[in-house]
């Protein structure tokens, strides 16, 4: 069942107001931080000092030790040679607070008393009291632990609320990638035109995002987010590589850089997503592709530059595209797009974004794949669906 598009926010509503041009007069409405803000910060710092002055020094010392350990392990994660080298941390945060009645009743804070300060230990999964105390002891020793009330706060995986994070079910516009690449964008969903592919729900993106520039095989793991954004296989797998149009690096002509990955239906969703004021906004686009036209205003939502607006300036461009490692491919009959503002229409990591008409049709026109010199290039979506023998499921 298709939802009515009125149920979703229209990117057009946000319009260019959310993306003012650099140097535009809009910027003049804003002033540099003033002393009033600094005074507020100072007052908040003073208030924190007063509160902490009443806290048991042993509790503060223990919190500091765990905090130091978190800093050290986070640095180690950042410099790890590979994802496999990163040890899964059980404690992911620490703080000081008061237990709520629910924590006392549920056993998360077994020795908690109303009004008594606790060491808040944030964990990815709920640990038994013994496990938790063992974890804390391994970091800070057993010193003073018996005197301190520990409050466990299981939060699950804490993720940045952005398009480079893990999102389930995953919408269009977020980070995705073959296990051996960096990261690209999940364009949208599609299904095959005939059995058995008509019963496969598939992710549509570029060959160089899902099929690693032809260096791949059927069934390869596709993860969300892409590996560069922390996605790992199989923990973050959303799909397996299904099909791709090989890119010709031998001087022949290419028309499309596209691929499909067969998704687990409960790990993806047909909406596209962009961010507004720190919140995720989901919307649907039409599933009937349209031909591009010069001067058509289009939009896209991608992993790196999120929601942007552009204007089609060519519908039959020829372009020589570099794919790294000295590989170059010639593409013909491409759509050229330029941003309607001074902000770029796309950047690295936006590859695979679906491009749609910025009007009440929201009709797909292209699949973003390359860029340079303030130009963005996209395959015609009609060629993409034809080449992959799919229909869009948006």
């Amino acid at each position: 069942m298709q939802k009515q598009t009125s149920e979703f926010d229209n990117p057009e509503k946000s319009g260019s107001k959310e993306y003012p041009s650099a140097g535009s007069t809009t910027e003049q409405q804003f002033e540099a931080p003033v002393s009033e803000i600094s005074m507020e910060a100072e007052a908040a710092e003073q208030s924190l000092k007063e509160i902490l002055a009443e806290v048991d020094p042993d509790l503060l010392a223990l919190k500091q030790e765990i905090e130091n350990n978190l800093v050290a392990t986070t640095s180690a994660m950042a410099s790890a040679a590979s994802a496999e080298d990163i040890e899964e941390a059980k404690i992911i945060g620490v703080g000081i607070g008061m237990p709520d009645p629910e924590a006392i009743m549920s056993g998360l804070c077994p020795n908690g008393q109303p009004g008594r300060m606790t060491l808040n230990v944030y964990t990815q999964d709920r640990l038994s009291t013994e496990q938790l105390l063992a974890e804390v002891s391994s970091i800070a020793g057993t010193r003073a632990l018996s005197e301190i009330v520990v409050n466990q706060v299981p939060t699950g995986y804490i993720d940045a609320l952005n398009k480079r994070g893990r999102i389930r079910p995953a919408p269009g516009g977020v980070s995705v990638g073959h296990f051996a690449i960096t990261a690209g964008t999940l364009g949208c969903l599609c299904v095959g035109n005939r059995p058995p592919r008509s019963s496969r729900l598939m992710i549509l993106s570029n060959n160089h995002v899902l099929a690693n520039c032809n260096i791949c095989k059927v069934g390869d793991c596709i993860c969300q987010p892409g590996p560069y954004d922390g996605g790992k296989c199989p923990a973050d797998q959303v799909a397996i590589l299904e099909s791709w149009v090989p890119i010709n690096f031998a001087g022949g002509t290419n028309y499309v850089d596209c691929s499909t990955a067969w998704a687990w239906p409960d790990r993806v969703r047909r909406e596209l997503m962009y961010e507004r004021s720190g919140s995720n906004v989901f919307f649907r686009v039409n599933s009937s592709p349209v031909a591009p036209a010069i001067n058509l205003i289009v939009g896209k939502t991608g992993r790196t530059t999120d929601l942007t607006q552009g204007r089609i300036t060519d519908i039959s461009a020829t372009v020589r595209v570099g794919y790294g490692a000295g590989r170059v491919a010639l593409f013909r009959d491409q759509i050229t797009i330029r941003s309607t503002s001074s902000a770029p229409f796309s950047a690295g990591g936006d590859s695979g974004s679906l491009i749609w008409t910025w009007d009440n049709r929201w009709a797909p026109v292209g699949l973003l794949f390359a860029g340079g010199g303030n130009y963005t290039f996209a395959n015609k979506i009609q060629r993409v669906v034809s080449a992959l023998d799919v229909r869009l499921y948006t």
Binding site: P169, S199, V245, T336, Y375
Partner: protein
């Protein structure tokens, strides 16, 4: 909404591997073109043969006058471009390399 309730779709199934999966060749026949696109098509190979040319597109650098915009990797290549082809003005622009994103 997500698709977990859409039971018409199956999860990836290893027993189907190889069935309609894998690389798909795409070699379409000629491209429909208007007059300008036709001029570009006829001269595209010659333009691309100039070292440093990375893009051939159409544009309107001067209001009301359509031109062929040729992207080049650096300014030294601009001097190698013709002023026009088939009566259509050529507009050289330094784009730098075009990269897959």
């Amino acid at each position: 909404m997500n698709n977990s309730k859409n039971d018409q779709f199956g999860a990836p199934d290893t027993t189907e591997w190889g069935q309609e999966m894998g690389p798909r060749l795409y070699e379409p026949e000629g491209i429909n073109a208007d007059k300008l696109a036709e001029v570009i098509r006829r001269h595209e190979a010659a333009l691309l043969a100039i070292p440093g040319v990375v893009m051939i597109t159409r544009g309107m650098p001067t209001p009301g006058v359509e031109a062929i915009v040729v992207g080049v990797i650096d300014a030294t290549v601009l001097d190698c471009l013709p002023k026009d082809i088939g009566g259509v003005p050529i507009y050289g622009e330094v784009t730098g390399p075009i990269e897959a994103l």
